[in-house]
Amino acid sequence: MTYFPEEVVEHIVDFLGSHRDRNAMSTVCTAWYQVERLSRRNVFVGNCYAIRPERVMARFPWMKSLSVKGKPHFADFNLVPYDWGGFAQPWIEAAARGCPGLEELRLKRMVVTDDDLELLARSFPNFKSLVLVSCEGFSTDGLAAIATYCRGLRELDLQENEVEDHGHQWLSCFPDSCTSLISLNFACLKGEVNANALERLVARCPDLRSLKLNRAISVESLNRILTRAPHLVDLGTGSMMLNHHTEAYHRLINTFLKCKSLRSLSGFCDASSCCLQAVYPVCMNLTALNLSYAPAIQGDDLIKLICLSVASACKDLQELRVFPSDIYGAGTAAVTEEGLVAISSGCPKLNSLLYFCYQMTNTALVTVAKNCPHFTRFRLCILDPGKPDPVTNQPLDEGFGAIVRSCKNLRRLSLSGLLTDKVFLYIGMHAEHLEMLSIAFAGDSDKGMVYVLNGCKNLRKLEIRDCPFGDDALLKDVTKYETMRSLWMSSCDVTLGGCRALAAKMPSLNVEIINESDEANEFQENFGDLHKVEKLYVYRTVGGGRTDAPDFVWIL
């Protein structure tokens, strides 16, 4: 056997970027495991309860960038109780002890407190980038700590977090010596922001490329900021309440004319149609446009804007998200299958779609599947649960079947509308690369779920709500869950007995029952095996049971 020098392995490992490649490589032998772990710079933990933070720090001491996810996806829709878990504290504490060289931290759907942020700010001298997505539990005081203590901070990106407003002073906490900011996003903050401090901050950060303002920033302030930072690539406007007869409007147009580098636009809070004209100068260069926070913009103006920005590039459109303008009823401007068919015929490169609509037909889906075979993410939400094809009154099995047959690289799929077990048969047969599947109000029997578990070899996340899947499906192939990150089932037919059986057979899984009813705590022991489980969350873990679970979470 030829001796393979470690230095060679080290050199090769440097070329390995992807987590999967590195994970695979580290299982070859102990020597390779050691080489890999000491050279890993980016660590991704998809489920914060899958492993204890200390183990991560011990294995990867030279980690520079850490990304951790907490709550399950359905927490976004209020299906996970507020204090379920997902605390950032143990991660930040462990990193402070074990990896002081940490430079980047990205947390998603986790509970982060002001104390956590202060610890973070004080513990890592080289800290450069903080990205918080859909987190909660902190206030602007925590941001003040970050601004104050993180010398050399390059990125502070707050995406859709719940942040308590304790005043606007935080922005003034960036010292005058802070000139390193490249990206600043505080669009989710609800409170006032010190516009002067912001303008001065922008002025002294020549490398600033991405700036996303919140609603409190006026148009006048935006104008001043853009004047100081015409080299921005990514802009999220603040309030865009603007009348096009005013000075401010004309000034803004002129300012936008100078922003030659702008490629991505978002924000447009409270925007009316007339203010859209202010951004026409930059439209042609846009690669990304987010108008989802401007429900007041009417159809015609929207079309004009899209034509200006996307028309010539339409055939290159890759990602589209269409949100409902009225979630409580169809209204006269209901989005239907027609829109989707039209888009698919003009945009063959479309690979990522999130589409809320009032109705969908099988014919439309078949057409879309034919026009756009490159979908990697296809999420369709028909607002009325269990709604059939309105033309034929049939389930949408065939339509979705066409999607999974045609889109060979489909990785993420969300289903809606009236669906039987058949659609799951199709998914199991054809969706080879499917990694994440979201199901609601669908299926007839356990067979549906079993088709998916048997067929989708690359399935990582399965989330199900309000479907008639029970213990038989859950227990059909218990080892499958070890190959997945997690399974969520709520308002289905699984019973406590079934969950207990699963937990007994698979010690490597955490089987969590979330039971919010008041009686649950008193009669915990008295619930028999036939008791239907409200919410079930199963995930693989090498970290053992959680120690921070609240009362209403039972870990079997």
Binding site: N78, I327, Y328, D384, G386, Q394, D421, A440, D466, S517
Partner: protein
């Protein structure tokens, strides 16, 4: 196909396979029993929510059920609350809430409140207000000296900026959206107002 055929059947057949509480042979409840019911106690307490919370079986999905029931399903549609807040409020709620503003009349001992949404235009509003304060108008005539007619009055309103405006200048819809409270000016003040108008 067997599955397809099921959807043509009457909903009553599904009751045979439904899980529900009750002794064998007892009558099925009027409401479609919801398989997502968890435990007896909860079913009783949340009876009202059952229809809206439950899985919608195929037939019920396209029945003439009120959309309001669907809108109450927890976590549906799957839109982050962050986004929901940027939507306009439910029309039904907005209509039900009404647009109540205070109405004061100079000299009247107490104020009234009216719902602006009930009226279609200025004429109706003025009539309603005159009726409302009718009882006070009678007494006005004798008390004020130097004023020609106690029945002369002008209806003004306080707008979003806090300014006192004369009712009737702007289109009705615009008025409704900017009116914060109403004030009926009587006698002398009205003459002053009228004088200013023509000066």
């Amino acid at each position: 196909m067997e599955a397809a055929a099921r959807y043509v059947k009457d909903g009553a057949d599904l009751r045979d396979t439904e899980l529900r509480l009750g002794l064998p042979g007892s009558e099925a409840p009027e409401k479609p029993a919801v398989p997502s019911t968890r435990g007896g106690k909860r079913a009783l307490q949340e009876d009202d929510d059952m229809e809206s919370r439950g899985k919608s079986r195929p037939l019920e999905a396209d029945s003439a059920e009120a959309p309001a029931a669907k809108a109450q399903i927890v976590g549906w549609p799957p839109i982050r609350s962050y986004r929901r807040n940027s939507f306009p409020p439910r029309k039904a709620e907005a209509e039900a809430a009404g647009l109540y503003v205070k109405v004061s009349m100079d000299g009247a001992p107490y104020l009234r409140k009216i719902d602006l949404k009930v009226y279609k235009g200025y004429k109706e509003l003025k009539e309603a207000m005159e009726n409302m304060f009718d009882c006070f108008t009678q007494g006005e005539v004798s008390r004020k000296d130097g004023c020609s007619s106690g029945s002369e009055s002008a209806i003004t309103y306080e707008d979003k900026d806090g300014d006192l405006m004369l009712v009737g200048d702007v289109p009705w819809e615009m008025f409704i959206s900017s009116c914060r409270r109403l004030r009926i000016l009587k006698g002398c003040e009205v003459r002053v107002l009228r004088t200013r108008q023509y000066s």
